[in-house]
Symmetry: none
Subunit: 192 residues, 2 copies
Amino acid sequence: MAKRPSLGRQKIKIAKIEAKSHLQVTFSKRRAGLFKKASELCTLCGVEIAIIVFSPAGKIFSFGHPDVRLLVDRYLSRNSGESSGLSPPPSNGNGFSELNFHLDQILEEVEMERERGEILDGAGKSNGRYWWEEPVEKLGLQEAEQLRDAMEELRKNVGQIILRFGFLDPYNHDGFIGCSGPNDNLEFLYGF
Amino acid sequence: MAKRPSLGRQKIKIAKIEAKSHLQVTFSKRRAGLFKKASELCTLCGVEIAIIVFSPAGKIFSFGHPDVRLLVDRYLSRNSGESSGLSPPPSNGNGFSELNFHLDQILEEVEMERERGEILDGAGKSNGRYWWEEPVEKLGLQEAEQLRDAMEELRKNVGQIILRFGFLDPYNHDGFIGCSGPNDNLEFLYGF
DNA sequence: TCATCTATGTATAAAGA
DNA sequence: TTCTTTATACATAGATG
């Protein structure tokens, strides 16, 4: 009788998981599950959702539809009447600033994808500072190169639009309006 | 074989619910479920989570452990600082799904800008559903048209990339991986 | 609207590859 | 270790009060 190939899902107590390897697995699974649920809720009910998760090491994972910062800023402005001062959108008083910020978001996304491709291109080196960091990438090299090229093309396209409208400081090629500087993409390539 | 008192849970397609009463019920249930999942993740893994939900009517629901405002401020300071990274994308453990979601976000942004142009085109009737509708009147019509065209071009560009990599179901123009399109004004009427 | 019930879909804890 | 598999816990669609 009864030699089970698996015990199946076991009931667990909702309390802090102490075993680190176990915690890491659970975190990854449940984080994915949480984001999926949020995504479904967005689609089913036509709502907008932002989720921000800080790991114990202070790393950030976020989900946002249509955009985390957009929703966060709206949340702050709703709850404090005026802009809280912590909220990024620079107010130039002409309406362009918000649009500017918005496009900045797009550019950031594109830039991240482009850099992602570059990272994939070169031998990805893990910084490995934390025990939960997972050094993995599933994209094949060829796919990564294609993606990088496609993203580069897209980025140029966005850049033209932005330049056309004068959204960027012409003297600062790295500096986008809202945020600037290269981002640390390693965080999002490796878990937690 | 007695008659079943209930059919039990039925499988549903993840697409926008059109029936308003049904939508309301689903929203309430799944919102509660989402917050519960977040709560469990906080406890199990010792992470900090903030969730902000905007209903189509603009009503805000939020979850935060330890506190939404605290986490939001931290998130913004992280992302505004010159040294630290930008917001990481949602991490599903699958590289492609992450990328897919990212491109979805980009598409979403572009789509919003495109609609912005259209709204501006058709004589400024602002119903205040989106953040950008307030300052929008300050944009000149000519600028708006330029923007619309540029965004349309960009959108096509993104679409090509996505199709090239097969990220989207070519037969389903609404169903992106992460989230679906922007809200219609239908549920705008319902108070949730 | 809001809670409850039931049957079933889905997420996931553990173990295996 | 990362990905699958398995069995089960949990979430929830639809009906009902």
